[in-house]
Amino acid sequence: MDYTIWTIAPIVLLPFFAFVINAFIVKKFTKLAVAISCAAILGSFGFATRIFSDFVFGKYAEDYHIHKVFNWFDLSYGSQIFKLDMGIYIDNMSAVMLFMVTGVASLIHIFSTYYMAEDKRFGRFFVYMSLFTSAMLGLVLSDNLLSVFIFWELMGFCSYSLIGFYYEKEGAGNASMKAFMTTRVGDVFFLLGILAIWSVVGNVTFVDIYRAISDGSFNSLYALGIPLATFAGFSIFMGTIGKSAQFPLQVWLPDAMFGPTPCSALIHAATMVAAGVYLSLRMYPLMEIGHLTTMIAYIGGITAFGAATIALVQTDIKAVLAYSTISQLGYMVLGVGVGSYNAAFMHLITHAVFKACLFLSAGSVIHSLHDHHTHEHVQEMPRMGGLRHKMPFTFWAMMFCTLAIAGVPFFSGFVSKDRILGDALLMALANKTYIVPMVLGFGGALLTAFYMFRMMFLTFFGEPRDKDLYDHTKKEKFSLNRNFPLLLLSVFTLGVFFSGSLTGQGFIKVASEKRYEWFKVLITKPKVEKFASYERQPWGHTDIKSNFQLSEAKYDYNYGLSAKEAHHIHHWHLIGALISIFIAFSGIFIAYMMYIKKAWNPGWWVSMFTRWYRALQNRYYFDDFYIGGLIKKGLLPFNNLLAFIDMGLYDRYAIDGWEKVNRAFYTVSGWFDNIFVDTIAVDGTGASVRLFNVVLRMIQSGKIQLYFMIIVFTLVGFIWTL
C-alpha cells in the first residue's frame, strides 16, 4: 500500500474524531468513550508504526519526504496573491516522532484506564487526552510553522485543561493559568518569529524556509535593527523556552503536576514539552545562521543544572520528576546548542520513553498509597520507603528508567546524554565560550544521578517511614493496564534500541553500523541546499513506496571527515563518555551513602548551605519574582492605575469634563441670552416703556407747580429756539 492521504491523516484524525465523539457521549457512556479514545490512539499507533517501519526498517533514503499540501484558504484577488496552505510533511524525524508519540500515548492511555478509573471525571480525562494526542500528532505532521503554532497552542489548551482538571482545588486554577500564561509568553514570540519569517519567505513551510536559507534570503535583512535570522530564530526559540520550560520560563512545569499523573507523563514529560525541542531542531538551520547556538547552549546548560539542583531538595515524588524533566529538556536544548543535532533528538525520544515510564511508575506508587485519614493519595517521599516489597513490578520498571536517566551505560539515557555531553566537550575545546554549558552539563549529570537515586532509595528502599500507610497498601498484583505499559516502556530504556554501540559515539561497536546506528543515519541536520529545488505534492498525491529506495544512505563512522580529524573527535567522545560514566556512578554512590548506608548525613549539607537550601526550596525565587514581583507589584498596580486613569481621570474629566465645559458655555450663553437678549433687548423694550411710564408718572403727579415748571421750561426751550 502506498501513501495516500488516507493512510496518513488518520494518525491525527482518529484521536480527533475520538475527541469529537467523546465530547458528546462522555457524560452518558463513559466506558464507551474511554474505549473509543484508546482504540483511536491504538489505531493511530498502527498507522504511525507503518510509516516508522517504512522509514526506519525499509530501505530508506535519508532525505526522503512525504509532503502533501492542501489549500486552507485563498485570499488571492487579481494580482494580489495570498494563499495559506496546510500540509503534511513526513521525514525521518517526524516518522520517529510519530512512532514515539503514538506509542507512549497508547501506553499512557492504557495506564490511565487503571489510574483514572475511580476518578469522577474518568471520561472527561480521555476527552482531553484524545484532543491532546491529535494536536501533538498534528504538530509532528505539520509542514509549516503556522500549523505547528496552531497545534502547539491547542496542546497548550489541553495542558491548561488537564492541569486544571481538579478544578475544585484553588491551586489547580493557579497552576493551569500559570502554565498557560508562561507558555503563552513564548508562544507570542513564536508567532512573531513566524511573522518575521513570513515577511522574508512569503510562506512558513519548513521546506521553503530551508530553501530561503540556502538562497541567502535571510542575509542582510533586518528587523528592528537585528539581523532577521537572529530575530526570527530567537523568537522561535523563545517558543521553545516557553514550551520546553527552559530558563527563564521554567516556572510553570513544576506547578503543572497538579494535573493527573498520566497527563503529567504524557504532556509534561514525554510529548508536549519535547515539542519545543522538536521545533528548535526543525528550525536548527535558522538558529545556526542566526548565530544563536551559543545562547541556546547556555540556556540549555543553565536549565539542566539549575533544575537538577532544585530537584535535590524536593520531597514530592512528582516534583522531583518535574524538575528532572526540566533538567533533561535542558540537556536537549544544550544538545541543540552544541550542534549535537541527532543526539538532542535522540535524547528527546529516550527521555520521552523513560520519563513517561517514571511518571507512570510514580503514578502507580501514588495511586497505591491512600491515606485513610485524609482520603487522599500520598505523594510525599518522606512517608514512603521500602515499597519495593509491596509493588515489585513498579519498582523494577522505575529502576530501569532511573538507571537510564542517571546515565548508566547500556541504557538509553546514557547513549543520548553522553553524546550531548561529548559534543559539548568537543565544542568547549574548540570554543571557550562553550566551557560553561559543558561544565553545567556534566555537573547536572552528577546531580541527576544523585537525585534520581535519592528518589528511588527514599521510595523503595529502607524501612517504611509511615507504617500505617505502608500496612494499608495492597500488594501489587500484575494487571495488564497497570503494569504492562510500565514494563514495556522500561524495556525500551535499554540502549540497544537506539544505538548499536554502547555510547552511540563509536565507543564499543556492537554490530554492523547501518542497521543499528539507524538513529544517526536517519536524523541528520537539514541540508538546506537540498531544498532549493524541492517540489511539494498536492493533497491527493500518492507517494509510491518504491520511491523510498532512491538512494541508500550510509552510516559514515567518520562523519565525512578525514580519519585523522575523526580520530580527534572519537578520542574526545571517549573521554566524555568515561567522565559521564564516572559521574553517574559517583552520583549513585553519594545517594547510596546518604540514603542507604546513611553514612553521610544529608542534614549536614543542609546546615552547611542553609541559604542555598532555602533558595532551592524557593525555586531560586523565580515564582516570587514573577508573581510576587512582576505581576503583583508591577502589572496589576499598573493595570489598576491605567484603569483608574481611564475611568477615573480620562473619562471623568476629559470626557465628562466636556459637560462642565458645556455647562460653562451654556451658563454663559444662557446668561447672555437672559441678560442681553431677553432682559435688555426684549424686556428692555418693555422696560424702556416702563421707564418712560415712570418718568411720565412722576410728571403726571397732580402737582400743579411741577406742571408749571415744565411749562416754564418748555416755554424757555421754545423761546430759545426762536
Binding site: 403727579s701 397732580g702 402737582k703 400743579i704 407747580q705 408749571f708
Partner: protein, 101 residues
C-alpha cells in the same frame, strides 16, 4: 429816563415774583396771588407798548380784559379753594394732587 425798557423791567420783576411765588409756595391762595402778579405784569406790558410803540387804545382794552379775567379767575379760584378746604381741611397744594377725591 423812562423808556419802554423800564416798564418791561418792572413787568419782568412782577413776572418773576409771580413765578417764584407760584413755584415756591404750597398754599393755594398764595399761588393765586402769584397768578395775579403775573397777570399784572402782562397787563403792564400791553399798556406800556400802547404808550411807547403803536399809540392806539387796543392795548388798554386787552389789559382791561386781563383785569376782568383776573377778577373772574380770582372769584372762581377762591371758590374752589374754599370748597377744597371744606373737603380736605387743607389748602396745601400737594393735597390736591388727585383727580378723584
Amino acid at each position: 429816563m423812562i423808556t419802554l425798557s423800564s416798564y418791561l423791567m418792572i413787568s419782568l420783576a412782577l413776572f418773576l415774583s409771580g413765578l417764584v411765588v407760584m413755584i415756591a409756595r404750597k398754599n393755594i391762595i398764595a399761588i393765586l396771588l402769584g397768578i395775579e402778579l403775573i397777570l399784572n405784569s402782562a397787563a403792564l406790558n400791553f399798556a406800556a407798548y400802547t404808550r411807547f410803540v403803536n399809540q392806539n387804545i387796543e392795548g388798554h382794552i386787552v389789559s382791561l380784559f386781563i383785569i376782568v379775567i383776573a377778577a373772574a379767575e380770582a372769584a372762581v379760584g377762591l371758590g374752589i379753594v374754599i370748597r377744597f378746604f371744606q373737603m380736605r381741611e387743607s389748602i396745601h397744594i400737594d393735597d390736591a394732587a388727585q383727580l378723584q377725591s
